[in-house]
């Protein structure tokens, strides 16, 4: 009697599997490490490098107004990356992102504000960006951890409503705490972007860069750092446990994932991103109004994640830039649009007091874009990209 023996396959040298790849088959992975790599295919590496290169050279060819919108879009992208961690990756619907952004914004503004005790608003005079930016993120993350015990007990839409409540409570506190925020309708100045004694908001002394170009570079670099961190979180053990919780929380629990701990971590990380983004959001205009952190801001961020493609870093950034540039686009295009409806000429006015105006068009577009994307392309811009890519990869076999 011969017992069946299990042929133990010779383990291939690990470093060999990691490095070598079949020529001409960029998506063919020979090892798990290969698939989990930061940029797991060479077209991805080349594409990202190209995009980053173009982004760095853009300030030299674009007008300052466009650069300002782009810098704002980059900051919104950081916020969206945070929401993507908790909603796209971990599957916990949060409508409270604006609340955490507000906390970050006021932490940073208070830290970098005028330290004169006679001043209208509190300040500590710590203007260095590397002090107030992490601090803003950490304070926001702390609030995320404080909220988490309520949030981790709730599932699905209960959570959405509770986080919605947070936005309203936050708005109230921001309105009323005048020593910190300056009060409703008055506001205060935002954090100062000072890097090692050099104020990025004032133009370079030798006139090499305008302030908008400097702010653009600052936001671009920060976005790259945060995006890289987000991608690394997503492919690490933590990120994969987030995805497991999203796909089926009970199965994840069975596999030994500590649900409350994972969800708390997701909230803390996402709040950290939100806090940093909130701190940066108003440095460009140097003015924070307590009413800015409202439900619409939360919805805007959600729209970015969903339109970009939930759960993906590239998609989220694309969505954020798309939504962030939407006001600029509408403002450029809308005045040239004229309809004739039932003999009446319909034009979009640029004054908010007239109807219909471009601000209404912009808001309706937010609403409709969310609805249309979810109806027809639930994977968002990322989904469109994947379909296009697949079409060309498999051409001429279109299936």
């Amino acid at each position: 009697m011969s017992t069946p023996t299990i042929e133990k396959s010779e383990p291939s040298p690990k470093d060999d599997a990691k490095t070598s790849r079949l020529w001409g088959r960029p998506a063919f992975f020979q090892s798990y490490e290969q698939e989990l790599a930061l940029f797991n295919t060479w077209p991805k590496r080349a594409g990202v490098a190209l995009v980053v290169l173009v982004a760095f050279f853009m300030p030299f060819s674009l007008p300052d107004a466009t650069l300002r919108s782009l810098a704002l879009a980059f900051v919104l992208a950081i916020a969206a990356l945070g929401l993507n961690l908790v909603t796209g990756l971990c599957g916990q619907v949060s409508l409270g992102h604006a609340f955490f952004m507000g906390i970050g914004a006021y932490t940073a503004a208070a830290l970098s504000g005028d330290s004169d005790p006679e001043a209208r608003t509190i300040g500590f005079g710590l203007q260095e960006i590397w002090i107030w930016l992490p601090a803003a993120g950490l304070v926001a993350a702390l609030f995320g951890v404080i909220v988490a015990p309520i949030a981790t007990r709730l599932r699905g839409l209960y959570l959405a409503i509770v986080t919605l409540g947070l936005v309203f409570l936050g708005e109230h506190v921001f309105r009323e705490w005048q020593r910190l925020t300056g009060g409703a309708g008055v506001g205060r100045s935002a954090a100062d972007p000072v890097l090692f004694g050099y104020d990025l908001r004032s133009p370079a002394p030798d006139g090499a860069f305008t302030s908008d170009q400097q702010m653009y570079f600052l936001m671009l670099v920060l976005l790259l750092v945060f995006a890289l961190a987000a991608r690394n979180i997503a492919r690490s053990k933590v990120g994969r446990s987030f995805a497991a919780v999203r796909d089926r929380d009970m199965a994840a629990e069975m596999m030994g994932i500590d649900l409350p701990r994972t969800k708390t971590l997701a909230f803390a990380l996402s709040s950290f991103y939100a806090g940093c983004a909130g701190a940066l959001l108003f440095t460009i205009t140097d003015y924070v109004e307590p009413g800015s952190f409202n439900l619409l801001l939360s919805v805007q961020i959600i729209a970015m994640v969903l339109i970009g493609g939930a759960g993906t870093v590239g998609g989220t950034i694309a969505g954020a830039i798309f939504i962030g540039m939407l006001p600029t686009l509408v403002r450029d295009i809308a005045p040239s649009i004229r309809f004739e409806v039932w003999g009446r000429v319909l034009e979009f006015s640029e004054l908010p007091s007239e109807v219909p105006n471009i601000f209404q068009v912009e808001q309706i577009l937010y609403g409709l874009l969310i609805v249309l994307f979810l109806l027809f392309e639930p994977r968002g811009l990322f989904g469109i990209w994947v379909r296009t890519r697949t079409y060309w990869k498999s051409w001429p076999f279109s299936y």
Binding site: R175, W177, Q363, I364
Partner: protein
Amino acid sequence: MTQFLEALVRGLGIGSVYALLALGFVIIYKATRVISFAQPAFMLTGAVVTSYLTPALGVVLFTGFSFFLSVAGAALVTAVLALVIERVAVRPMVGKAVFVVAIITLGIDIAVRVVVTGYIGIGSRPIGFPWGIDTVELLGLSVQIRHLVMMGTVVVVGLALLVFFQRTPFGLAMRAAAFDQEAAMTQGISVGAVFATSWALAGALAAIAGSLLATGAGVDRQLWIIALIALPAIILGGLDSLQGAVVGGLAVGVVEQLVGTYQRDYLPWLGDNVASVAPYALMLLVLLVRPYGLFGTPEVRRV
């Protein structure tokens, strides 16, 4: 004591409106398992339609006749709008993740609300409520007539809904579909019709609530936010309980008015307008103790 009782009556009045809104949320939730964030838009639509219909009607059989007729008309118009939206944007998403559908309703809400806001104009639009903020003496308390009208409306609407759900075949069908959709379908119940009816009912309820809320200061651009105060109400009552919605709505109204009356004397450091956010604070407190609200069914988790 008089101050307390008057605040209580005011709270019950406003709370009745929250109850109407909460009923809308719960009816949609029970039928489709989705929270419709489009309710604020429906509420605003109802109020605006009423404000246009009331002066246009101008028939006076008794005081307020044209107002009540316009409210009914606005409820009808809004119900039709809700039906269309349900058919176009929500029905195709049946079977998809609930939060995706919830976000869709959020998008619809923004789009509809912006369009409707365009018809309000600058400032607030009078709604044609004949008594305005007049008060009557009742058992030694001065009570606003509009609060009495609100309470009356919630009683009438509540009874009508009770009869509809308990005594009519279609009401039974809706309860069956809420209980178990597949089993209901095998019994020949059109679940699509149940979805549509739930949206129409919720739209009509929101329209009535919006018109009643605007009786005081008229329709303004901020009116829609009040619809979201019904969210703490449904969380308090539990998402899937009609009785809970009414109790939650009344409780939220009373708490809000009591906080508004007493907070300035006892907790002045909280600032102004705490009353408007008190419901959310109450909701967080209740959820800490009971994650499924006071009347909600705890979710059974099975492998």
